[in-house]
Every structure is written in structure tokens, then in C-alpha cells.
């Protein structure tokens, strides 16, 4: 286990300097939209919160943390916060695989295709799409979180944004529950799958869904993706821990203790593998973590886009 203080101060420092927990400047992380020709005006604003885009970097940095956990090197982490974030961040960006970065972008393009197919009137504005600060909140850096969240929310408010589409559970929870409480600014927040209107013939496919904690338990939205799948003739197998009682994939412990995170992930992967069906995740953290366990897992949007 790493010293939480070192991890928290490194993350807090990164968010303060670069608005990204990994210290990678936004122009390097958020590039997926460049050839997607998305409208700049619409009823909803698509707000990715950059979580899908961060996943390849999280994977890479966890590989390093895994290597050093429990060794003398772990103690050196405290010096990381003295390195300007953009230098360490660019270093991390350079060692992260291009293929993984492209995959993360493809998920977002798939989500756009699904929204278009469902005739949702949405816009994308990269200047307004920012990290929500949720990791700071989870780590207990309340001051850092509130300061960051206020900046993000005020920017959206100034641009006249009222309705927002999110794509991951962490950003959805931040915007729906935490922003009103801690910034005083309210938006109407929908997760992309709540707006989908897709139909297709029964394809006889069965999948096992892994509900992320924030969608299943905190926001109680786990019925929605199941309905979307039913409309496409895809059924979901029943497992013991699902919906409001879903089990965590272990992802949130990744930066503090990769070994603890792996232990929890292995347990969850076993539960999900029990029905012997392909596994569907709908959170970038869960997806990355379950992939690491070697499970046959893909993102909900990847499955949906194949069936429209």
C-alpha cells in the first residue's frame, strides 16, 4: 500500500496545475472528436468528463505503481509532487500505447453514433468538456474538489448550458449529485443510455452485465441499459450481486494499492464469469480493470453499436 498522503498530494497538485489528475494537458488527452464532425449547438451538451480518455493512462501508471508497491521505491512517490505536473504528465503520455488511446476514443465515437441513431439533439464543445474532479472527492480532498468543481460548473453556466449528457458513472454522479450540493449550480443530467431509442430484431444473444457502483447503487440506473438491450433482443443473465447490490470491480483502490485492487477484481471477475456469457461493463474504470483480469469484457456502447 502506498502512503495515501503522497498519492493525494500528487493528484491534487496535478488537478490544480493541469486540471487533470494525471498531469497530462487536455489537448493531449482529448483528441477523439477531431474527425467526428460534431455539432457545436444542440439541446444537450455531451460532457465526457475525460474519464474514457484517461483510462489508457490509468492503466499505464498502475503498471508502474504495481511494480513499486511494497518496495523501497514506493517511498519516493512523495517527491513526485515536486515535479511540475505537465512534465511528469507528458512523460506518462509518451509511454502510453497509441492503440489503447485510439480504443478509448472509439468508445466515445460509438456513443455519438448511438445518440445520433436515437435522434438526440446534442452538441460537443471540447472547450467545455473538463474533468469533474471526482477522484479528489473520493480521496477526501474536499477543498480541492470544490475549488475545481466550481471552475468547471461556472464555465458551463456561463456558456448557458442547461442539459448535459454524461458517459460514465463517476462524472454522472459528480454532475448530478455533487455539483448542486457543493457548487450550487444545477444541470439536468442524463446518462447517454437513458436517451437511447434503438430497435432491432431478436438476435438471441445473452450477456452478463457488470453494474458499476455509481450507476447501480448510487444513481439506481441499472434497469435502463437492460431495457435498451431488451429492445435489441439481447437478454441479461441474472447474477447474485447486481443492480443496487452490485459488487465493486476494485478499480477505486488502484492508485493506493494495486494488489488490493487486483484481489477484489479477481473475485468480481469470477462472479461475472459464472454464467459463461460475454461480460458488459458501462464504466471505463470497470472496463479497464476487468480487462486486466483477462475477462471477456467489452463496453456497453461497443456491443450496442454492433447491433444497430
Amino acid at each position: 500500500m502506498f502512503n495515501p498522503k503522497d498519492i493525494i498530494e500528487t493528484l491534487a497538485n496535478n488537478v490544480q496545475q493541469t486540471a487533470s489528475p494525471f498531469g497530462i494537458p487536455k489537448f493531449m488527452v482529448n483528441t477523439w472528436f477531431k474527425h467526428a464532425s460534431l455539432p457545436k449547438k444542440g439541446e444537450y451538451l455531451l460532457f465526457t468528463g475525460l474519464m474514457y480518455q484517461f483510462t489508457p493512462y490509468i492503466e499505464k501508471s498502475t503498471q508502474y505503481l504495481e511494480k513499486y508497491e511494497g518496495t523501497r521505491m514506493a517511498g519516493l512517490l512523495k517527491y513526485a509532487r515536486h515535479i511540475p505536473s505537465y512534465i511528469s504528465g507528458i512523460g506518462l503520455a509518451m509511454i502510453t500505447s497509441g492503440k489503447e488511446k485510439k480504443n478509448a476514443g472509439q468508445t466515445l465515437k460509438n456513443i455519438c453514433s448511438l445518440l445520433k441513431k436515437s435522434k438526440v439533439d446534442f452538441a460537443y464543445r471540447p472547450d467545455l468538456d473538463n474533468y469533474s474532479g471526482i477522484l479528489l472527492y473520493d480521496m477526501g480532498d474536499q477543498k480541492g474538489f470544490v475549488a475545481h468543481a466550481k471552475k468547471v460548473a461556472q464555465k458551463l453556466q456561463k456558456a448557458g448550458i442547461k442539459k448535459i449528457i454524461t458517459v460514465d458513472p463517476h462524472t454522472a454522479y459528480a454532475l448530478k449529485e455533487l455539483f448542486p450540493k457543493y457548487t450550487g449550480i444545477n444541470f439536468e443530467v442524463k446518462s447517454y443510455f437513458e436517451l437511447l431509442n434503438l430497435k432491432s430484431k431478436d438476435c438471441g444473444l445473452e450477456v452478463t452485465i457488470h453494474d458499476p457502483c455509481f450507476f447501480g447503487r448510487y444513481l439506481k440506473l441499472s434497469d435502463v441499459p437492460r431495457k435498451v438491450l431488451t429492445n435489441l433482443g439481447i437478454s441479461a443473465s441474472d447474477i447474485r450481486n447486481q443492480g443496487e447490490f452490485t459488487s465493486c470491480c476494485g478499480g477505486p483502490a488502484e492508485s493506493i494499492s494495486p494488489s488490493l485492487s487486483n484481489e477484489i477484481m479477481e473475485k468480481r471477475a469470477k462472479e461475472l464469469e459464472e454464467p459463461g456469457k460475454p461480460i458488459i461493463a458501462y464504466c471505463p474504470i470497470c472496463l479497464g480493470n476487468l480487462k486486466k483480469s483477462g475477462a471477456n469484457v467489452e463496453d456497453l456502447s461497443t456491443l450496442l453499436v454492433r447491433h444497430i
Partner: protein, 100 residues
């Protein structure tokens, strides 16, 4: 020897809702918690109830094992909100090390 701090509950109000006294120590949270670790989070909630401020600071690293998954809060029969108490304790510890 551990000292008991009678003002601890008051001090914690700055960091989270004051729900720890609702807890009657049934252990449901510790039984369902995926960490399966040494009576966590129940033990921490007990420390809050008895004002064992120092004990929490001594064992503070444990708080960051918590995944904030919410299972404990969801199943607590007393609505003591154990998950949010843990999050509040993280905030308390962060504020503490930033002050020192």
C-alpha cells in the same frame, strides 16, 4: 493508552453528517464490505462513537482502502451511513496532515 476526546464528534461535523451515533454495532457493514478487513468499517465507526481521535489518526491509512462502493451504507439497518462516515474521516485526516 488511548485518549478519548469528547469534542471529537463536534470536530467531525465539519467533514460529514453526524450519523455515527445511529450505529448499534451490528457488524452488517463489516460483513458485506468487499475489503473483508479487520472489522472495517465498523471499527472506525466505533472509534468515532467513543471519541478515539488518536486511534483514527494512527490507523488512518486504512481509510484509503475503502472503495467508496456504498454497499455498507446501502445495507446498514440503522441508516448510520457508514460509507459517508469513512469519506468524512478521510476529509478529517487530509485536513489534519495539511495543517501539520
Amino acid at each position: 493508552m488511548s485518549l478519548v476526546n469528547l469534542d471529537f464528534a463536534e470536530e467531525l461535523k465539519e467533514y460529514s453528517e453526524d450519523t455515527a451515533l445511529e450505529c448499534f454495532n451490528c457488524g452488517t457493514c463489516a460483513a458485506i464490505c468487499p475489503l473483508v478487513h479487520d472489522n472495517f468499517p465498523r471499527r472506525m465507526i466505533r472509534y468515532v462513537q467513543i471519541g478515539a481521535r488518536q486511534k483514527i489518526l494512527e490507523n488512518s491509512d486504512e481509510l484509503w482502502r475503502c472503495l467508496h462502493c456504498g454497499l455498507c451504507t446501502h445495507t446498514c439497518p440503522r441508516e448510520a451511513d457508514p460509507g459517508e462516515i469513512i469519506l468524512g474521516l478521510k476529509r478529517f485526516v487530509v485536513a489534519n496532515f495539511r495543517r501539520s
